[in-house]
Every structure is written in C-alpha cells, then in structure tokens.
Symmetry: C2
Subunit: 251 residues, 2 copies
DNA sequence: CCAATAGTGTCTTTGAGACAATATACA
DNA sequence: TGTATATTGTCTCAAAGACACTATTGG
C-alpha cells in the first residue's frame, strides 16, 4: 500500500457522546435537538466531526465541553472531571444519508448536575430518561416501541452505552462516577438501583461496599440530606476493579 | 452541519485484526510481515482499508478471509466460523506517518488450526506467541522489553486484544471459541490455563464447568487424544454469559 | 410519640478451593 | 505393572441473601 491519497476512499469521522447521569429515580441521557436536516427536529446524541489533527478522545472531550460545559478527566486533569471512555465505533455505510461517516462513540458518566446545558451550537439540550429513548428489551432493534426514536443509529449507540454502564458498575468502582465528590452509602446504593432497575437490600449493600478494600474512603463528615439518621460521607477510593464484584440480582 | 463535502476533513479508515489462538502452551497471535514502507520488514497485525460501501465488520471478515482463509461467524454463518467482535478504535493523528488513518480493531478467537496462512497479499504470515510480541506487564507502554516491536501502534492494539480475551473468558463462554467443535474438559481447561497463564485444579475445574448450565453439552463420544482415561466430548452450549462466572486466580 | 434512614449482628445457603479416592486408558 | 488423565466425593472457609435489631435524626 504505497502512499497515494487517491488510493483510499475518503471517510468522515465523528464522535458521538453517550452522557449518562442519575437524576431522581431515572437513568438519564443527554440529548440535543437537531436543527439541520437530516432528522431535523429529532433528538440526537451530542457529537461532531473530528478535526484532522485531533486525537479521537480529545475530540470527544472537546465536544463534551462545547455542548455541556463538562470537563473530562484526562491526562491533564486526572481527578477533577467526569469519566470518559471509548464505547464502540459505528460505520454502517447507510447510517448517514449524506455521506460515509464513521462515528466513534464515547461513554461519559457524570454526577447529577444542576444545569445540563452550557451553551454551544446546540439549540436545545436536555436530560431524557433512557427508557423514554430506548424501550426495555429493545437493546438491538427488537420488539419494543420507541416513543421518540433518536436520529441516525443513536438509539442503538445509546443502548450499547447503557449496557456498558450496567455491566461495568458490577466489577469496577465506576458507580462513584455518578456521585458527587462526597456521598453516602445510601446515595451510592441508589445509583446501583437506578442503573440496574432493581431494589437492593440496604443492610447487605452497606456491609458489602464498606467491606470492599479500596472502594470507599470515609471523609469523617456526615450528612442528613437523605433524611433519617445522619450518614457517613465517603469519597471514591483508589481501587478501580472491585474484588469481589458487586452482584447484580438475576431475573 | 449542512452537507458540504469540503467541510469535513478526509480520513482513511482501516480495520486491524487481533487473531488469537492457543497453540501448545502459548497464546499466539497472527502477524504478517510488512513488504512496504513504513515499517518495511517489521511484523504487523493483518488488516487493510475499509471500502467505501462496506460495513466495518464486513471489512474485518473480508480481511480475515483474505489473509488467513478463516471465515467469521456472521449473520449468514451463525455457527460455522470463528468468533469476531469489535475491539476498539485507534486514531492518534500520528499513528501512521503517511496520512490520517483511523483504525477499527477487531478481535478474532480461533481454534488451533493446521496451517495459519492461506495466501493473499501477505508475503509472510505466522503465529507468534503473544509474550514475544508484548512483554509481560507492558500492556500500555511500561518498563518491559519488546524483543521485536510490531509496526505502528499494533503492540498496543494486540495488548488490548489479549486483555479483552483474558477478561471475557471469565464471564462468558468464549473460551470455547479457542476449541475445536468437539472438545474435552481438559482441553477447555488448557485454554484457560494458557490464556490466563495460571494452573487450575483439574477437579474443581471439571466440577465447575460441567455444573454451569448451558456451558457444555455432552456429545456422547469420548476420546483418548490427551492420554490417560478416555474423556467425554462436549460441544459449546447455548449460554453466552456464564453465571456464576469462572474465577481467575488472583496474584 | 412516629417515620425515615443508617448501621450492626446473626443465621442459612451457596459456591470456591484443597485434596482424597476411584476409573480407565496406554506403555 | 506404572503412569497419565478423567471423574466423583468430601471437607472447610468465604461470602451472599434474608432479616432481626439498634441508632439517630426530624416532624
């Protein structure tokens, strides 16, 4: 394969973002309303073109900042920002009717933040519960009904991101990425309950997470923001892999 | 973003293949010797350009067939071929000195086959033990020494593929992808031992895999190809996720 | 007082890990 | 016979799940 610019077909490369957070009792995704054709007026995942001299992850972090004001934790910002990881790449030749576009999707996990939108080129931004965007049991285009399907193949991308988040909080400490810097065991438990859509025993959960080495570090403070008896505050510990893992209840 | 072909920067998109198999007592990867500059004469992962009307996975399956003669199991071939799944996408602006190339890597798991090379445009193809290509503990550019570094960032891609295989056989039935259609419990155990680089207790392993529902289906036949008492032959069961998972010994 | 949440303790069951013992081939 | 591998069984310990009970706030 000698170097000949005309020898390779030209592709456009974009990044799309699956930005998830836990709001109230729902797992929510960030969606933007499209102002242009195709899919004008439909909701879509935030994203945009990768620049010619830009790394893929840098493009994802830039789009995230432009459309939400969130800053990803990267090499320059090891702990301050939200979690960002590559999800998968989507390149069906007909996924964009205009041209051949390969999109590298990234998954972002963020704590519940006061205002989702932070300006940019998106006319409208909102947090939408994921089960209003992808019907349950419809992960890969099944039988469920989608009330308001996302543009392009973004429904599929979102479903893949949600599935990644659901499985990854099992064996990693990633659930803390949905929490503020200091949080209680009850708040962490609510993250698991909302993401998995199950109820967990508060007593067993407490024993489990406080007994897993490196998962939680007590800060010494307490809070009563959940009501009831004051709860200890924790920060995320250094551990990234949980051993033993959290077990998702079956069926 | 209106449609304007000059508005987006042109990228080349390729697929690279991490093809793994278990040969003897080593986990091996398929590598091809480069006949062209850059990295002429160096070993590299098989791969090539994605065609303008070709799906990414189709491009990966095509390159796999062209360079190895292996057929992936896809929509048209649900059970006959080898396992193929998307691994990750690599798009550092300087990963190819000639031009901006985004490469979508795919992971292929194959049983030990008689002849690795099946013709094509690769001058030289071989199975190489992965620990001769990526030094242990050197998964992401650490302190180990690489005897013969792969071209481009293929060492990194291979390390990511090996790590994916190592973690995925824990909680899925994917280890059977390294086995022939009919295999014994001892052969399956050797897959785990080679991929993880550990020794497993044959008795506990036998009890575990035969007790996991849907993992193994006895065919009724037996074989003595491993020596010793004849062993039952099994096929892979329908289960894809193992519950409970296989546990990788720690430390 | 009651309601709500936090946190501890206790019991049962499941399963992993260690390892003895038996089964059945080949040399 | 000995050696190699397969397969079953048994014991112990760790951890998950169910759930009683206590602790500490606010109304």
């Amino acid at each position: 394969m000698p170097y000949d610019p005309s020898a390779f077909p030209p592709f456009a490369v974009t990044v799309d973002l699956v930005v998830l957070t836990v709001r109230g009792h729902a797992l929510c995704a960030l969606v933007v309303r499209r102002g242009e054709s195709p899919y004008r007026g439909r909701w879509a995942l935030p994203g945009g073109f990768v620049r010619i001299d830009e790394d893929l992850e840098a493009a994802a972090a830039r789009e995230l900042a432009e459309e939400t004001g969130l800053h990803a934790q990267g090499s320059d910002e090891p702990h301050g920002g939200v979690h960002l990881e590559q999800l998968a790449t989507y390149g069906d030749p007909r996924r964009d009717p205009r041209m051949r576009v390969v999109s590298v999707a990234y998954l972002v996990l963020a704590p519940d933040l006061p205002t989702p939108t932070a300006g940019g080129d998106a006319h409208s931004v909102r947090w939408a519960p994921v089960d209003t965007l992808v019907a349950a049991g419809d992960e890969h285009g099944g039988e469920g009904k989608r009330p308001d399907p996302l543009a392009f193949d973004h429904g599929r991308i979102l479903a893949d991101g949600v599935e990644r988040a659901r499985s990854k909080i099992e064996y990693s400490s990633l659930a803390t990425a949905f929490c503020p810097p200091e949080f209680t065991v009850g708040e962490l438990r609510r993250v698991y309950e909302v993401v998995w859509g199950v109820a967990l025993d508060p007593r067993n959960f407490h024993r489990k997470v406080t007994g897993t080495p490196g998962f939680l570090v007590p800060t010494g403070g307490t809070t009563t923001r959940q009501g009831g008896r004051p709860a200890q505050l924790f920060r995320a510990g250094g551990a990234t892999l949980l051993n033993p893992p959290m077990l998702r209840p079956e069926i």
